[in-house]
């Protein structure tokens, strides 16, 4: 077996006023979210620090934070890796996402203003543009923006951090769903959600959201695709 490659991370430019810690966290998070780090690949603090050209300290804090958000997994208190995915776990995460986000939408609905609906419509347009351009990462980002912007209509925000954690756990594997999704015609669930928002129709909103999430995700669980990827990833470590 070939020795593990030296771990190259895409270094996004560091924002001004951003601490090294935040930058390392952001970089690693992004890498995990888009599936750049294969599950089972063991990360060492020193390696990541070298890849980012910083000292070990900010890196280990970033790694630990991601671990506490379930994005990474500390194996036996030694190795750190992206958790392995199983079909059952994937299903659990999918159902959790639906329950959590439907609840978030319900709690946000009373605070949704016409102005926010306009903003959501704009974001939805950006999703379509990215989809048309074949920009999968853009689709993911804008799709998350759409959901986030809906739930954050609620000014007493407590749910989003949990939602983000679930997104992070599903992240490495949703990229697959999107690639599959492009092949099919796919009804625009966001339009349905927007219509429900305009009518303040909670039930219709829940239905649209659940369908949207299932569209983006469940195909993977039912298809042989995930299994293949899971097994493949399992061999990488």
């Amino acid at each position: 077996m070939a020795p593990t490659p030296p771990l190259s991370l895409p270094v996004s430019p560091r924002h001004p006023k951003e601490t090294v810690n935040q930058w390392a966290y952001r970089s690693l998070r992004q890498a995990v979210m888009v599936g750049l780090i294969p599950p089972g690949r063991s990360l060492t603090i020193r390696d990541v620090a070298a890849a980012l050209a910083v000292s070990t300290m900010p890196v280990r804090e970033a790694l630990r934070r991601l671990a506490s958000e379930q994005a990474l997994e500390v194996q036996d208190n030694r190795r750190i890796q992206v958790p392995q995915m199983t079909v059952a776990k994937f299903r659990e995460l999918c159902e959790l996402r639906i329950a959590l986000e439907c609840h978030a939408a319900e709690r946000a609905l009373p605070y949704v203003t016409p102005a926010r609906i306009d903003q959501l419509t704009q974001i939805d347009r950006r999703i379509d543009e990215a989809q048309a351009a074949g920009d999968r990462e853009g689709v993911t980002i804008h799709n998350q923006d759409f959901h986030r912007h809906l739930y954050e209509a609620n000014p007493h925000q407590v749910i989003m951090p949990l939602v983000e954690s679930v997104w992070l756990q599903l992240g490495p594997f949703t990229r697959l769903a999107l690639s599959k999704l492009n092949d099919f015609y796919h009804v625009d669930r966001h339009s349905e959600a927007l219509a429900a928002l305009k009518k303040h129709d909670l039930l219709a909103l829940r239905i649209a959201l659940e369908a949207d999430i299932r569209d983006g995700i469940t195909h993977v669980g039912t298809a042989e695709l995930l299994s293949a990827y899971v097994e493949n990833a399992g061999m990488v470590g």
Copy 2:
């Protein structure tokens, strides 16, 4: 106004094989959970490190982790404190807890065995004993054990970390609910839940759980108690 007291933390004994980091995290978490650190009280890394008689490094990692779990709040990138509670936020957390835990129970139900029901019954007995002994902290701990042990029947666990985060955010304020609760006769929702488990009756389980959570929590939200505490705590900082 009196100068802020020098922050004394109850130092639980350090487990063998436990890193300083883990110990600091556990100590701080416990302190937050039982409401020992008043909301608004600003914590400094050096102070906590001094109180625990360790260096600053493990402490800042513990603090950051608690912040990422929403147990603490980094104010303007300088001050760290237990977040202030508002009535609206409290309600959001309560509703979130219900939604999350009912979902967790639903996903766990198919895996609940008679053996586990027995264990749950034993834990429930311990709750009653603590209640009879007036041991509020014991009640809290065993109550959490009960819920955790139910949800963890599901072997593909992804929900508990989120539940723990919500518990942690409610923790500093539930102690009030319990003190109030002792004054009233209070139907044993856990018995109802156990009965529902034995019948594999999902709906009854959800109803019992929701009632249990509301019993333990919502009284605070409706009573003037929380408001009083919130305002009081707001003046502490």
